[in-house]
């Protein structure tokens, strides 16, 4: 079983772990950014404080997979919310429906532009992508992924952290505890 620790363990004056950088999971980005105002207030403010404290000790990064996962969350969430609150009839999410709304509805387009600005800000400033060495993929990871313990994004994040000696994962997702490996997982 992998190593899961609490956030206090890495914030005390002489932490036991040789961590230099921390990769954030999508669950943290959602709690921090709260893109739909849905995250509970105490969870959001606690996450913002935790991230700021960690940033004063470590480099915090996202990976491109995390950014892609978060983008999909915002895209589908925005579409569903828009459809449910602005249209008389629900149309299941499809990329064709999404593109059609983007083309034909000025209201949809305005809201989407705002979401895109927020998305860019999130990954340009709050959680900039990890340095290149952290995101080099070995094609062999596809052989190792059997989908049994977590989804592909979590699996890749774990493998990336594991391949680096001074790297941990910050997450609110309990699935990370199921991985059997050497990566350090910090649970909030």
């Amino acid at each position: 079983m992998g190593k899961t620790i609490g956030i206090k363990r890495v914030l005390r004056p002489n932490p036991d772990y040789p961590i230099r950088q921390i990769l954030v999971d999508t669950s943290i980005v959602i709690r921090y950014e709260n893109p739909f105002g849905f995250v509970k207030a105490d969870v959001n403010s606690r996450t913002v404080q935790q991230v700021h404290r960690l940033k004063s000790h470590y480099q915090l990064h996202a990976t491109m997979l995390t950014a892609a996962e978060y983008f999909k969350y915002v895209q589908v969430g925005y579409y569903n919310i828009f459809i449910q609150t602005n249209s008389g009839h629900f149309r299941k999410y499809s990329i064709a429906n999404f593109k059609s709304l983007k083309k034909n509805s000025a209201h949809f387009q305005r809201g989407w532009q705002l979401r895109l600005s927020a998305f860019r800000k999130t990954f340009q400033r709050h959680f900039p992508p990890a340095p290149q060495e952290a995101v080099n993929y070995n094609p062999a990871v596809f052989d190792a992924f059997d989908g049994s313990k977590a989804d592909f994004g979590d699996f890749m994040l774990y493998r990336q952290a594991e391949s680096l000696t001074d790297c941990a994962i910050l997450t609110a997702d309990k699935d990370f505890a199921l991985f059997e490996g050497n990566a350090i997982v910090i649970r909030v």
Binding site: N34, G37, V39, I81, T85, G111, S117
Partner: protein, 119 residues
């Protein structure tokens, strides 16, 4: 127009907790009751959280049953960073959605649970 210097009022440059948002809400409410428009001055603000903005800004919109345009006619702001401007615009948009749900007798929490994808 009444100018509120937010960090001075709340005695902090980190605007993170919903409690601080509630303090600002109270002050804004007083001003609005006196029929004054409000200018929120965010000078010296270092950090802003979504929960602070939802409490201070979003709840004003919901409480007064305003649109974002009506909100902006009564409450303005200055000295916000470009990033914080985006956060504030999102807080207003999210509050408009919540108000819509409340008006239609839909529980916002249940709505979000049903409509946001799992990650």
């Amino acid at each position: 127009m009444t100018v509120i210097i937010v960090c001075e009022l709340l005695q902090t440059t980190s605007l993170l907790s919903p409690d601080k948002g509630r303090e600002l809400t109270e002050k804004i409410r007083e001003c609005l009751q006196d029929d004054a428009d409000v200018m929120l001055d965010f000078r010296e603000c270092e950090y802003l959280s979504s929960s602070f903005l939802n409490e201070a800004i979003g709840k004003q919109l919901i409480e007064n049953q305003w649109t974002a345009a009506e909100f902006k006619a009564r409450i303005q702001w200055q000295n916000l960073s470009e990033d914080a401007e985006i956060d504030l615009a999102l807080a207003l948009e999210n509050a408009e959605t919540k108000l819509h749900l409340i008006r239609n007798d839909i529980d916002p929490e249940e709505f979000y649970n049903n409509n946001l994808p799992d990650v």
